[in-house]
């Protein structure tokens, strides 16, 4: 971070950019000032949350064990980094953040139970957590009943909105539509083959994608296939793809199946530099398991890539690697998880209170200029305004940014005409 600041001093333009966008160094000064005049606990905490004169407690609730640990580890790491950085910059309303980490163990009832424990016993001021939609659906009634605040990082299918949840990932239309528009324009794509894992997220996403392809792009969906989670054999569907010769393969296969799918696609002689493939389920994290040589050339539609070239990200990536090791990679959701603690901090400062009701009310309009993905802002519906980006996978497992929307895309969790 300090390197970035020094470079900024050398170049006036760079400096301007930094002042405007990379709020991280700037924040070092702001809260320090407020530290001296930290408001009284009785004033900022009227509902009995775990806030003292010097500390505030938040919860981290992800799967550190079980099947989902593969995906959720990155989110845990990002949230801890954000909390450490916020503390180094003076904390929230003059208080250091202390976190209690609970393990959802990839089991949805456990998630609900642990969320209740965090809210009722530990009285945490906010929870950074959940990953799959199933875990969020299990936790949602708990945070609503006990009036907690959940920061949820994953891109998901939409069709949900709650006073008690801030969705820092993209809902389906934000992730899909711009990507489809781009590939239709860029590649002149008319025919699409959909393949996904068989559960709610791919099915909802593909439903939206199909409506968009048929009604807006005037194209054709030549196949729509679902395989059970964990399926490892894709040769038959690959043959179908070869038979129907779609312009674009559109995939939302997840988990271990993903690895099998790309390995078998490559083995079947489908060359992704010639056959366009657009995925909404592969980030840098997944490529680690798939292997860059198996997926190079594929397009992914996300809001963040580790390779993004902006000052915030150039500070974020080295800080992440310094904390978690040189070899770790940062995927879209990891970045979204990093936003959680920052957005909460900014909202608390805007509301001047830790009270959940005040935070929920103050959330719309909160801006985070230091986001590694660039600038984000919370919408009235508690989702984020963010850009949609398309990247092309490279041999080294990173993405090369190919396209990004000019403006922030409005979150629309209940899209009209797509249901």
């Amino acid at each position: 971070m300090s390197d970035e600041a020094n470079k900024g001093l050398l170049s006036p333009l760079r400096r301007k950019l930094l002042m405007g966008m990379a709020a991280v160094p700037a924040m070092t000064m702001l809260p320090r000032a407020s530290f001296a005049q930290a408001p009284a606990t009785s004033a900022v905490n009227t509902t009995g949350l775990a806030v003292t004169d010097t500390e505030v407690t938040v919860g981290i609730l992800h799967s550190a064990t079980g099947t989902m640990a593969i995906s959720e580890t990155g989110s845990i790491e990002a949230e801890k980094l954000a909390i450490e950085q916020i503390n180094a910059a003076g904390g929230v309303l003059g208080r250091k953040i202390k976190f209690i980490q609970e393990d959802g163990a990839s089991d949805w009832p456990t998630f609900a139970e642990k969320a209740k424990k965090l809210l009722v016993n530990d009285k945490v001021a906010a929870i950074m957590g959940c990953w799959t939609s199933a875990s969020r659906k299990a936790v949602l009634p708990v945070v609503e009943q006990y009036n907690g605040m959940l920061y949820y990082p994953t891109f998901y299918e939409g069709l949900e909105q709650s006073k008690n949840v801030i969705y820092t990932g993209q809902e389906a239309t934000q992730q899909i539509l711009a990507g489809l528009n781009w590939i239709a324009k860029e590649k002149g794509a008319k025919s699409f083959f959909f393949i996904g894992s068989d559960y709610i997220w791919p099915r909802t996403s593909n439903k939206i994608a199909r409506k968009h392809v048929e009604n807006v792009l005037k194209g054709k969906v030549v196949g729509e296939e679902y395989y059970p989670l964990g399926n490892t054999q894709f040769n038959s569907v690959i043959n179908k793809i070869k038979l129907t010769k779609p312009d674009v393969i559109f995939t939302d296969v997840v988990g271990g199946s993903n690895v099998a799918f790309y390995k078998q696609l490559k083995a079947a002689g489908i060359d992704l530099s010639k056959q366009a493939l657009l995925t909404i389920s592969v980030t840098e994290d997944e490529i680690d398991g798939i292997g860059g040589e198996n997926i190079a050339g594929a397009y992914a539609c996300m809001k963040y890539f580790q390779s993004l070239d902006n000052p915030n990200n150039k500070a974020f990536v080295p800080a992440f690697k310094k904390m978690w090791g040189e070899k770790t990679v940062i995927g879209d959701v990891t970045q979204a998880a990093y936003l959680g603690p920052w957005l909460w901090k900014l909202t608390v400062e805007k509301a001047g209170s830790f009270d959940v009701d005040k935070i929920a009310a103050a959330s719309p309009g909160v801006e985070f200029k230091g986001a590694p993905e660039g600038y984000v802002r919370i919408h009235e519906n508690h989702h984020l305004w963010s850009k949609t980006r398309v990247g092309r996978a490279k041999l080294d497992g990173q993405f090369e940014l190919i396209y990004e929307t000019a403006d922030l895309v409005e979150p629309d969790p209940f899209p009209k005409g797509y249901q």
Partner: protein
Amino acid sequence: MFGDYSLGDLGSIFVMQGFAGLILFSVYVLMALGLAIIFGQMGVINMAHGEFMILGAYVTWMTSNLFQAYLPSLFSGYFFLAMILAFVASGALGMLVEWALIRHLYKRPLDTLLATWGLSLMLQQAYRSVFGAREVGVELPQWMLGSLHVTDSIEVPINGVFVMCLTVLITISVAYVLYMSRWGRQVRAVVQNRIMAGAVGINTEKVDRYTFGLGCGIAGIAGSAFTMIGSTGPTSGQLYIVDTFLVVVFGGAASLLGTIASAFSISQTQSTLEFFMSGSMAKVLTLLAVVGILMLRPQGLFALKVRK
């Protein structure tokens, strides 16, 4: 659905679909062989079978890293050494597990289910602690990637052919060991009558240990081979366990031929159905058919004729 396609297209798809079925068949046989030995011959319900496979996969990953770091010139051949190491590692772990856990449970076969399930959870967490929660990517030598170009529209995946050859090789070896060798006769004697086998001087404990080790070792080879087609992570073993039991139970325990026949029928049904409908529906119909046949023939396709 065929109206729009030329005859040539259909012909080549037919050929490739045939290959897809054969590859699935080989995969099923390879993953079920180890379990067929352990469940079929010893009656142990080994729920940790998938984890023994993944040990093989991790050994392959480590071997590939070692070769890249120290012997890059020999990288193209590392896979063969990796498979041998996978066999040794999984086999050794299997023998250890047999000694520490399984041998106390031979008289309580249902308890092996619980014990090995617990073992599978422990192994998963061990992999997670040692290798990290994220999946690892196993790098393959160049010659094993891509496909054989037969005609313009027919392409055969090299890794599929590799798995097929490996399956044939291992099946023949296992059949030879079980049915031709002196040790195989001892194994079968112990399975049929443990007390009598002991009475005629067979060291039944030793036979048990090596049989279990062999089953686990083959699982290790399977895991090693599957790094070509699937993922390698702490819980990847879970992806295979259901299909594996399906194949072994459907085939009829204690019958190698049954395992092969069952793998063949399940893989062909599934791969044909997958072509005509969605993957999930194909799976449902395949499972329905299996359940239906098992209701009519509870002992599975092939079963030893035993006087009851």
